[in-house]
């Protein structure tokens, strides 16, 4: 179940679409009926260059890059196709080129993508696109992933015949909270305009002026602040639209690309993490038609600052007297073990997180079981928001489904109980895993009553100052693991960067804690933990970590514990589809920074 419904879907046809015979560059192939020439050619392994065509947007045919030769089956007077000597239909080639993007192929038609006519057309269009282009690749962020660069190498000429002065247009135009426009680089393909209109339903971009002076602009009293605005930076074939967050930070060819999943909400948009050395520079959406199609929201995309800021924990801390000092990992576990000696289950509480991976949750649940099972109060911190009817889910936790499976999700209702029990002196030890107890509603005065407060996190937060042990963990881009999105799809996070300093991957920390507290030392790697989980939790039956693949696997929804939503006084079991029923789309995103901090940038 894809969360997002594209207004157009030229590349995907229903599975039962009948096949037709078409000739592509001399070879007869079968393609589903209803594809345009670009898509049909790509099924036959032929690439037709294009700028304005985008499989998820309306077709306008304005760039003319996809011009090719088309042919119709020759018909006899009684309207039957004439069969040639080779037993194949004969084709009558049309002398005028046609655009591939708007040419729907029918049975018996032919296209030539590499004939002289097609090549000449491309060369001509390439030249036209370049004559007024500023050619400022050396300072352009798109360089390295620019279709103008790529196609001009592939299809253009090496010399310019243009001796006139170029048209100059506005540069550095601030069209929105997160986007800068360089009009001189714009090739007027109108992809961004159509995306804003058709996908965002926020029709604020358009062209002004005419002819060679045509200039992309934002409506004069509006801004392009939509929560999906940065997708236009991705689909802009050139460097006209740049992300304020990413521009000038890093050359794209230096980025190491790691497939992963956004943890901003329960949708779990598939992303590519672009990182160099220790720094994550950008997230870009990664195609997954079962989840996010080709898109992601700006909030999720820019959610890379919080773990790269100056307050990032880079080493474990131990409280000595009134202050906290840096520590060595190997000393920490025995110390925690020592403090836990003699504590009974009801004296311990766990604040887990629906931002944790399944593997981490499994270990937490396993430790909890050893410590006393249900007598150990546990919960997560819910993050309810509003679904925007597009991608963003009402549940801003990425793995609530996982927390339900591992029995750690009490919808936050246990948090108040934990507070009361600490105040009453019943609970002596609290483990906070990637959640801040103070922020979750357990005040500092309460926490100060504890004999043992352990915080495993990436930033100290208000709880960090009070903790006896602060365990420097990993951000989601620094670890491997799996999560389950709101639709019950099991997806994988991959490690894009190493943890800073002596911070450690959370699973490693948890497994060490597990050894210290329970003696169990059978598990080491993510794969092993997943295997153990699969053997105990039937929902994962037959799965291994590697079988999840980069596109995830759909779990049997009927077997997943359902989120319980309280509607009035009735506890309703909502259908997944209902939970994500489209709601009105907010045009502005909620308090999102234009740029994000980076550790080493």
């Amino acid at each position: 179940m894809a969360f997002v419904k594209n207004a157009f879907q030229h590349d995907i046809l229903p599975a039962d679409t009948p096949l037709i015979n078409v000739q592509i560059d001399g070879e007869w192939v079968q393609v589903p009926k209803g594809l345009n020439a670009i898509e049909a050619a790509s099924r036959a392994g032929k690439f037709v260059p294009h700028y304005c065509y985008h499989p998820k947007l309306s077709i306008v045919g304005n760039c003319r890059m996809c011009l090719l030769e088309i042919g119709m089956p020759k018909m006899s007077p009684d309207r039957k196709p004439i069969i040639g000597e080779d037993g194949k239909p004969e084709i009558g080639w049309i002398p005028r080129p046609a655009i591939g993007c708007a040419t729907q192929l029918a049975d018996g038609m032919g296209i030539r993508t590499d004939s002289k006519l097609a090549k000449d057309c491309r060369e001509g269009v390439m030249e036209f696109l370049l004559i007024n282009h500023p050619l400022d690749c050396p300072i352009c962020d798109q360089a390295g992933e620019c279709k103008l660069q790529e196609y001009s190498v592939e299809y253009g000429q090496s010399e310019s015949r243009f001796v006139e002065q170029k048209v100059h247009k506005p540069k550095k135009v601030d069209i929105g909270e997160r986007i800068v426009l360089d009009d001189e680089r714009c090739i007027m393909c109108s992809r961004c305009i159509r995306f804003a209109r058709e996908f965002c339903k926020d029709d604020v971009l358009g062209f002004t002026q005419r002819g060679g002076f045509t200039t992309l602009a934002v409506h004069h009293d509006k801004r392009f602040d939509n929560n999906y605005s940065l997708n236009t930076v991705d689909i802009c074939p050139v460097g006209a639209l740049t992300s304020k967050d990413f521009r000038f930070k890093m050359r794209v060819w230096f980025l190491r690309e790691t497939p992963s999943v956004c943890t901003g909400c329960a949708t779990g948009c598939n992303v590519t993490v672009g990182a160099r050395e220790q720094t994550v520079y950008r997230l870009t959406p990664r195609e997954n038609e079962d989840v996010n199609s080709l898109w992601m929201c700006d909030q999720g995309r820019l959610n890379i600052g919080y773990f790269q800021g100056p307050d990032r924990l880079t080493e474990p801390l131990v409280r000595v007297g009134g202050s906290q000092v840096g520590a060595v990992w190997s000393n920490i576990y025995p110390q925690i073990q020592h403090k836990m000696l003699g504590l009974k289950g009801e004296q311990v509480a766990i604040l887990a997180s629906a931002r944790a991976t399944n593997e981490e949750l499994f270990v937490i649940a396993d430790v909890r079981r050893s410590l006393g099972g249900d007598t150990v109060l546990a919960d997560i911190v819910p993050r309810p928001g509003k679904s925007d009817g597009v991608l963003q889910n009402a549940d801003r936790n990425p793995n609530s489904a996982g927390t339900r499976i591992f029995g750690l999700n009490y919808k936050g209702q246990n948090i108040a109980k934990i507070k009361e029990a600490i105040d009453a002196g019943k609970i002596k030890a609290l483990f906070c895993f990637h959640e801040d107890a103070v922020e979750a509603g357990i005040p500092a005065e309460t926490l100060q009553k504890l004999d043992l407060l352990v915080l495993q996190h990436i930033v100290p937060g208000p709880t960090g100052a009070l903790a006896h042990f602060v365990l420097a963990g990993a951000a989601w881009t620094e670890k491997r693991g799996s999560m389950i999105n709101a639709a019950g799809r099991l997806q994988r996070l991959n490690k894009a960067t190493a943890c800073p300093g002596s911070a450690r991957e959370d699973l490693e920390i948890l497994l060490n804690l597990r050894t210290a507290l329970t003696g169990g030392n059978s598990l080491h790697k993510v794969e092993e933990v997943f295997k153990a989980a699969a053997s105990q939790y039937p929902i994962f039956e037959g799965l291994t970590f590697s079988r999840i693949t980069d596109l995830g696997v759909q779990l049997d929804r009927s077997k997943l514990p359902r989120p319980q939503v309280v509607k009035g006084s009735v506890v309703a079991e909502p259908d997944f589809a209902e939970e994500f029923a489209p709601r009105e789309m907010p045009v502005k995103s909620e308090g999102l920074p234009a740029t994000t901090p980076r550790i080493s940038a």
Binding site: R64, H168, G211, T215
Partner: protein, 474 residues
């Protein structure tokens, strides 16, 4: 042989002394009689008459009107059908529709009502060029007059047929005359022509409904077809070039103006030397653009080889001189140009042909809508090259370059503007290569000069301020 007399059908009453544009005058001269006749006919019969007449569109492309109407199948179509009168008349050299609108608006309105009735149109628009504010006012008044006589509105003449006609003023661009650009503009958007396929007006036109777009003169002709009968009208002119045609003559002739002739009954020589009184000031002819500025130019003294049908049906080659070329769709097409919108532009021997082309290219660069790459970039490039050649800043290499730019536009664009802007360049260069070569080679080559402030962002706007280098070249 003296030139044939004008045959005024569409222009019959226009410029007649004492003839006024109000409905009373129109009615006195037999106005709306054809409407009464048509509205008693079956719509299909009207379409059949128009088909039988062989009427070809007067807007430029010469597409058979009856065939265009026939694309909409009343049995299959479930959507409303719209009719739009294209009164955007912007092709340089063409000024006929304006005469009709200003001087006999009811002729157009009557033609429209008949055409609407024939095609079961309940809502029609007159899309009039933005620069014709007075014409728009005249049409609006005329529509009110027609309404008062129950020719427009509900239950027209008691037949139960309803029709509303609205006047829509254009957005001030040449491209608003291209039928799909016109439709976009009428829908309230920029006049960006649509791709065809799939947006053929007859299928996905105005508001994605079947739409008929016809030129002013074409719609007027419909009235006369009803009057004479399709077959009778079809006898006027020559086969496939029937009826009469309004021809607008401008440029270096003694008597420029608009004339109406039986199609194909007059030659170029007769038109220029007899009807128009010859070249101005007794000079010699240099060149003619025969069908609006987009038509390919022809050079004085040219001799064309054409195929001619013989009495026995066989084809034979024949040479004809420019003066003997007949002014109709097929004859002009046979010599490699077109009758287009009927605007004949005449240039005398003193004209610098490079300047003439620079002028036209300037127009096309200014009017390209900018939507598709070859036309947007190419039209402006051609303007810059032609201007340089014309002003003495050319180079020898400019001539082949210019030709190749034009070749890279024609046939590769969304709309026929691509041809409209490149045909003049291609034909000027082909016909006057000697002059272009000489002038280009004698030029200085490109001269770098300081740049002026940009036109692309209004002064004082945020975009203007944001522009690092607010400069524009060319």
């Amino acid at each position: 042989m003296p030139a044939p007399a004008e045959m005024r059908i569409v222009l019959k009453n226009i410029d007649k002394p004492g003839y006024t544009r109000d409905i009373d005058c129109y009615l006195k001269h037999g106005g709306y009689e054809e409407l009464k006749k048509a509205i008693a006919m079956a719509p299909a019969d009207i379409i059949a008459e128009v088909k039988a007449s062989g009427l070809r569109g007067r807007g430029g492309a010469g597409f058979p009107c009856g065939v265009k109407w026939g694309f909409i199948d009343p049995k299959k179509n479930t959507k409303p059908v719209y009719l739009i009168c294209n009164a955007d008349e912007s092709e340089p050299g063409t000024f006929k529709d304006r005469q009709i609108i200003h001087k006999e608006p009811h002729q157009l309105i009557e033609g429209m009502i008949i055409s609407c009735f024939a095609n079961n149109v309940k809502l029609a628009y007159i899309y009039i060029r933005g620069e014709f504010p007075y014409g728009a006012k005249i049409l609006e008044e005329a529509i009110e007059e027609a309404r008062a006589h129950n020719f427009i509105g509900t239950n027209i003449l008691g037949t139960g047929y309803d029709l509303e006609i609205y006047v829509h003023r254009g957005a001030g661009a040449y491209i608003c005359g291209e039928e799909t650009g016109l439709i976009e503009s009428l829908e309230g958007k920029r006049a960006y022509p649509r791709i065809k396929p799939p947006y053929f007006p007859a299928v996905l036109g105005l508001y994605m409904c079947p739409t008929i777009v016809n030129n002013v003169e074409t719609l007027c002709d419909v009235k006369h077809i009803i009057k004479m009968g399709g077959a009778e009208y079809g006898k006027l002119g020559r086969p496939n070039n029937t009826g009469t045609r309004v021809i607008c003559v401008s440029g270096d002739v003694e008597k420029p103006g608009y004339y109406e002739f039986e199609t194909g009954k007059i030659t170029m020589g007769e038109l220029i030397y007899e009807v128009c009184g010859g070249i101005k000031g007794g000079k010699k002819l240099k060149a003619i653009i025969p069908g609006g500025s987009s038509a390919k130019i022809i050079r004085a003294g040219e001799v064309f080889k054409v195929k001619e049908k013989q009495a026995d049906g066989s084809m034979a080659d024949k040479e004809i001189k420019l003066e003997d070329v007949i002014l109709d769709f097929d004859s002009l097409a046979a010599i490699g140009t077109m009758a287009g919108s009927g605007g004949v532009m005449v240039m005398d021997e003193t004209r610098d042909i490079t300047r003439c082309l620079a002028n036209l290219s300037e127009f096309y660069a200014h009017e390209s809508c900018g939507q598709c790459t070859p036309c947007r970039e190419g039209a402006q490039w051609m303007k810059k090259i032609t201007r340089r050649i014309a002003t003495g800043e050319g180079r020898a290499a400019d001539v082949p370059l210019l030709k190749s730019v034009a070749d890279n536009i024609a046939g590769k664009t969304i709309c026929a503007f691509g041809e409209a802007c490149s045909w003049p360049v291609q034909s000027f260069l082909a016909k006057f290569k000697d002059e272009f070569d000489a002038k280009a080679a004698a030029g200085t080559g490109p001269v770098v000069r300081p740049v002026e402030p940009t036109m692309s962002a209004p002064k004082g706007s945020a975009a203007y301020k944001a522009a690092k280098e607010p400069v524009i070249a060319g």
